[in-house]
Amino acid sequence: MSARPLALSSRIPQGFAHAGLLWPSLGVILVFMVAPIAIMLTYSFLVPGAYGGVEWTFSTAAYEQILFERDFLDDSLTFTPDYLIIVARSLIQATVATLLCLVISVPTAYYIATRSDRVKNIWLFLITIPYWVNLLIRTIALLFVLRDDGPINSALLDVGVIGQPLALSYNGFAISLGLIYSFLPFMVLPLYSAFERFDFRLLEAAYDLYASRRVAFFRIVLPVMRPGLIAGSLLVFIPSVGSYLAPDILGGGKTLMIGNLIGTQFQAARNWPFGAALSMILLTITLIVLLWLARRAAQQQRSN
C-alpha cells in the first residue's frame, strides 16, 4: 500500500512534478478571491462616502447598523430586527431549498445510478441540459410560467378549479421554487456518484444480520453516503443563502434576501461599508456551516 505513491511519482519525469504547476490557479484565487475579500473586510470598517465609495475613517458603525438603528437626532442606538429577519429568511429559504433538493434528488440519483451505463449517460446528459441556457433567462422563464396570466394559472382558471389566479409569483414560494430549480443538479450529481460507489452488497449483509429495511437505510446507507450528502447539501445551501437572481426576479424585490440587501447597498443605497459588513456576515455564516459539518464528520469518524 505504502509503495503506491512512490511507484506513481517514479513514473512522472522529474521536471514535471513541480509545485510550480499550481501557480496559475493559485494566482487566480489570490487575485480574484483573497484580494476582494480583504478589500471588503477593510471597507466594512470604514465610513460611507456621500456619493458611494468610502471615506478612510475607522468605524464599526456598519456592523452596529445590522442590529441597531441610530437615531439621527440624539445618536442613541435602538435595537431593530429588520436586517436580522432578512438574514433569518435567507437561512430559512436556503435550508428549505436544500432539504427539498435532497428529498427530490435521493430517488432520482438512486434511479440513475442503478441503470445500465448507456442509460446512465443519457440521464446525466439530460440533467445538464438546463445549463445550456443562462441562469437569468431560465429564472425569467420560470417567472413567466408562474405569473398570474402564466400557463399554470390560465389552465387552472380555464378548467374552473380556481376563481382567481393563485399567487404563485412574487413571494417566498416562487423564490424557493427558483432556488430548487437552479441548484437541483448540484444535489443530484454528488448523490448520483455516491450511489454509484455504494456497494449494495452492504445492504444484503445488513439484511443478513437481521436489519429491517428502515434500520439498514439509516445505519448503513446514510452513513456510507454521508460525504455525498454533505457535498450536495453544501453545493445547494451556500449559493442559495447568498442568491441574488431568484429573490430579485421571482420575489419581485419585495421579499428581500441577504444577497439583494447587499446588492442594494452597493447600488441604490450607496452604503458600501454596510454592504461590505453584510457580505462578511454572509461569509461567516458559510464558514460556520462548513466548520460545523467538518467537526461533525470528525466526531463521526471517532465515535464509530
Partner: protein
Amino acid sequence: MQRAIIEPNPTPPADSKAASPSKPGSLLQHPNSVAAEVRNLRKIYNVGSPQAHEALKDVNLSIRANEFFTLLGPSGCGKTTLLRILGGFEMLTSGTCRIFGEDVSRLPPEARPVNTVFQQYALFPHMTVRRNIAFGLEMLGKPKAEVERTVERMLDLVHMREYADRRPDTMSGGQRQRVALARALAPQPKLLLLDEPLSALDLKLRQKMRLELKSLQRETGITFIFVTHDQEEALAMSDRVAVISNGHLQQVGTPEDIYEQPQSRFVADFIGESNLIEAKVADSAGSEAAFDIEGFGQVQAPIGQRVEVGQQVWLSIRPERLVLGAVHREGPQATVTDRTYLGNAVEYHLRAGKHALTARSPRGGLRGRQDFAPGDAVSLGFEPGSIKVLLS
C-alpha cells in the same frame, strides 16, 4: 449436458421434534437432524423474458446438522444461486427450501436463522471491527452486556483482538476475512453460508485459512455451507461435497467418494484430472466387464451397474494410477509425446492410437522408477480397480 440427476445419499429423516425454533441464537443442533433441505428446487432468472435463464433445475439436497458441506462447481453452474436462495437473497421459482425443518422459501434474509460470509466480505466501511461484529447482535436486540461479551469472544476466536478498533479499509484481505467470519458467527446462526470466502486471498493465506475454517467449524459446531469452484479446497475441508454443473446436482458424497468413485464424466474430469476414454462393452459377467477401446485393445474393469454388451461407456483413469513400463509384453501400448517435470512428480503425455492420455509418476525416473523421454514407446498398465466405468 449431463442427463442424470444423481440423488444425494440417503439422509436420516427429519425428526419433526428435532426441528428447532426459527429464532437464531441456539447452538443446540441434533447431530442427526437435517440442517437444510431443498426439494425440487428450480430457479429461473427473468421468467417469461427472452433472456430467461434456468440457473437451477430440479435440485434435491439434504445437508446434515454439524456438517461442513461444500457446493462445488465451475463458475455459472448455479452453486452461488443455491447459496443465495438458502440465505434469502434470491427467491426460488418453485420447490421448497427448509432450514431445520422450517419452510423458509418465502422468508426474507432477516427472518432466517442464517448468516453469510460474503465473497468480498461486505464489511461496513464506516464501522470499526468491533461495531461490525456487534451489528447482528444489536439487530437481534441482545442486551448490551451480552453483545459486548460475545464480541470479545468472537475477537478472540478469529484472533483479531488487536484490530478491534480499526476500520476495514485499513486491513489486509486475510484480516477482513476473519472479521467477516466473526461478524457472521456472532449471532450464532444455525447455518453459516460462505460464498467463495477464500477466493480473494493469495495461495499461502488460502491454505492457512482452510485449516482455520475447518477448525472453526468443529469448535462452533455450526453447520457450514461453503461455495467454491476450487476442487482442492472442497476436498480438503468438507465432510461432504455436492458437485454442481449446469444447474444440475451431479453427485453428492464424501471427498473420497467424489474423487475415487465419480459417477459421471463431468465429476471425473472436474475433480482432479482424469483420462476419459470412450469404450464399448465387449463382455459382461457379474461384477466384471470387458471393454473394447478402439485402436487400443481390451481392458477389464469392475462395474457397479448393469451394462449391455455393445453399450457405449466411458472409462476414467487417474493419471497417477496409469503405470508406464518398458515394452516387453502383450497389451496396450503408447508413445510418449511430452514429458513435464513437476518437482514432486513427472507428467508424461502419451498417444495411444487416437487417444491422448496423461500419466503422472511420483519422483519419475528416481528410486527404481523408470524415466521416459518423448518418442519412447511404453506399455500401459492399470492399477487394480483404477478404471471407473461411467455411463454418462
